[in-house]
């Protein structure tokens, strides 16, 4: 027991050091390193949120780009059309995505399994067509998000850092809570979980809403980094492709998975940047190969071989209980 304790302290200390090193990166890192950092943190967040649905709740969604798009469009409308601050757009994005997630949960939660998967995709395709024909959002032309040019890169970096680390903390806390237990029991055996008193609908709904709102907030910062928005890109399946890729190569159903996945994804994408077109083919092939060869992803393979877990969501028996006091 003492060993576990000590191990925990070293682990916390290591994580703290990493966070501090990352926090001060803008002071010593090159612009390139900072921009890579921004991408990695934001993609960690996207991956974590997809994993919360697909990896822990059994809700495999191909429609999370809905919320990236909502976040991005909120950022554009709030700053460009209404000339408000970024903070306002974060709040509005959270509000709009909350309401939208709640509304679409009525039809799509009636669907199960693959129906849910495709149902979410249809919603996003419908939104894409709708936005292209909607005057309010400037049809297919979209917006330049000019406020993005005026904020310093280090600020975007710190925003992305907070969102990335926040997503890890949020998922960790959810999984260590009562809801996390409910989620995992639901994923493993829905019927048994329901009989044992897990409220399936409500648990899934909370999980879906949390994931969607956080994805929308990530979307705001993503689009501040991209600086222009169009319906085709905002509601494109490419966002979900990258979420799925990150989670699958990192390890479905692990907290470390999306972190490893995001790092691999962003670096691989940078390497393949000079070969447009072929990069997606290679990414797709890597993902398929990993599903075939390492069904639990890189993290699953590491865990199996070395037994290492950084963020354990398993419950250990408390020492006090063992002593009987």
């Amino acid at each position: 027991m003492q060993g576990v304790r000590k191990n925990n302290y070293t682990k916390s200390l290591a994580i703290l050091v990493i966070v501090i090193v990352l926090f001060f990166l803008p002071q010593y890192g090159s612009d390139y390193a900072i921009s890579i950092g921004v991408l990695i943190f934001l993609y960690i967040s996207l991956g974590q949120m997809w994993n919360l649905l697909g990896g822990y709740s059994g809700l495999v969604s191909l429609g999370q780009q809905i919320f990236v798009g909502i976040g991005g469009y909120t950022a554009a409308l709030v700053t460009e059309v209404w000339h408000q601050s970024i903070a306002v757009s974060l709040v509005v994005a959270a509000g709009v995505s909350l309401v939208f997630a709640f509304i679409i949960s009525f039809p799509i939660f009636k669907m199960r399994g693959v129906y849910f998967t495709i149902g979410t995709w249809i919603v996003s395709e419908a939104l894409l067509v709708f936005f292209r024909n909607w005057k309010f959002v400037n049809y297919d032309a979209g917006y330049n998000i000019t406020i993005a040019y005026r904020i310093p890169m280090s600020q975007i970096y710190h925003g992305a850092l907070v969102i990335g680390i926040g997503s890890v903390v949020l998922v960790y806390l959810i999984l260590r809570s009562r809801m996390g237990l409910a989620l995992m029991s639901m994923r493993d055996n829905e019927g048994a979980a329901e009989v044992r008193g897990v409220r399936l609908y409500r648990t899934k709904l909370y999980c879906f809403v949390i994931s969607s709102v956080y994805t929308a907030i990530t979307g705001v910062v993503l689009y501040l980094n991209i600086a222009y928005i169009k319906p085709g890109a905002a509601f494109g399946i490419d966002w979900t492709v990258c979420m799925v890729f990150i989670v699958v190569i990192g390890g479905l159903g692990t907290i470390e998975g999306p972190i490893i996945g995001a790092v691999v994804y962003v670096i691989l994408r940078q390497y393949l940047y000079s070969f447009p077109g072929i990069s997606m083919v290679i990414l797709g092939a890597v993902a398929v190969a990993i599903i075939l060869l390492m069904p639990k992803g890189i993290m699953g393979a590491i865990h199996k071989k070395f037994g290492v877990e950084v963020f354990s969501v398993r419950r250990r028996i408390d020492e006090r209980l063992e002593d009987g006091s």
Binding site: V60, F106, I108, I118, V248, A285, V288, I291, L292, P295
Partner: protein, 291 residues
């Protein structure tokens, strides 16, 4: 609007035939191996590009182009089924779903690399021909041919499934994997045959789509959703259901577009689909069995 309604009804029904043949492969795969093939639309568009390429560069005749495409696509089907999907099909629904998702990305981007993002068409004299032309209603030859081909394919497939020992073996493999293995049916081999049947229908659908509508490497997604719609409305795994599903979807799109405006044709299709999914998640025609 009312005077254009008969035209919308006629075109809707005929377009439904084309939708049915797009969806039939997806229905087969789902019925037989309980797999939602996310790559279905891209596999179809791949065959469309192949037919176009062979017709333009080698034969000049789209029918011969189609036959060659079918041969190539069958090899492709054996490859993806034997080496990719069969490896994960026993590990639950998600890995197989994600493999087909990966496949879909690979195919559409490979097409983009090979042919560029340009919009393409397969030339056909049928497009400009009209079977019937009156003041209010005209029937396009192309749409009529698509409809008839769809009906023919559905009839042939239903006969194959119900009357031949091959069809019985496939159905046995789908209804009880363990039992049919015990009785000497190689289920994984049956899955390969099912995928080959699927690409044959997808190739036919692909040629018809390529003649009727312009296409480009990323159109696959659009047809995946149509296929999914057809299959959901008609009930997963039911062959005659796909025709009904196609017609309902086609009618919904064109009648809706007739009253609201042509730019909303796609959107109306999506909304009808979502409503049906929400009200009857198991499909309009299938029995209410939920797993």
């Amino acid at each position: 609007m009312l005077e254009t309604l008969p035209q919308a009804l006629v075109t809707g029904v005929l377009l439904g035939g084309l939708y049915a043949i797009i969806g039939i492969g997806m229905s087969l795969i789902f019925g037989i191996m309980k797999l939602t093939n996310i790559a279905h639309g891209d596999i179809m568009i791949l065959s469309t590009f192949l037919t176009m390429f062979i017709t333009q560069n080698l034969t000049g005749n789209p029918i011969i182009g189609l036959l060659l495409t079918i041969v190539i696509m069958m090899f492709f089907a054996v490859g993806i089924q034997k080496f990719l999907i069969n490896k994960v099909i026993t590990k639950g629904a998600e890995p197989a779903l994600l493999v087909t998702f990966g496949l879909s990305i690979i195919i559409s981007n490979a097409l983009f690399l090979a042919f560029g993002a340009n919009t393409q068409t397969i030339q056909s004299p049928l497009v400009s021909m009209n079977l019937i032309r009156t003041e209010n209603v005209s029937v396009s030859m192309m749409y009529m041919v698509s409809f008839l081909v769809a009906v023919a394919v559905i009839v042939v497939l239903t006969l194959v499934m119900n009357k031949t020992s091959f069809g019985r073996a496939i159905r046995a493999a789908s209804s009880d994997t363990v039992m049919s293995e015990l009785l000497g049916v190689n289920t994984k081999r049956m899955y390969v045959f099912a995928m080959m049947l699927t690409v044959v229908t997808a190739s036919i659908a692909g040629m018809l789509v390529g003649m009727t509508f312009p296409f480009y490497p990323t159109t696959g997604t659009q047809y995946l959703i149509i296929a999914f719609g057809v299959v959901v409305i008609g009930g997963m795994g039911s062959l005659p259901g796909t025709l009904v599903g196609g017609i309902i979807l086609g009618l919904a799109q064109l009648v809706g577009a007739n009253f609201i405006g042509p730019t909303y044709q796609q959107l109306i299709g999506f909304i009808v689909l979502l409503v049906i999914l929400a009200i009857r998640p198991q499909g309009l025609l299938s029995k209410a069995v939920r797993k």
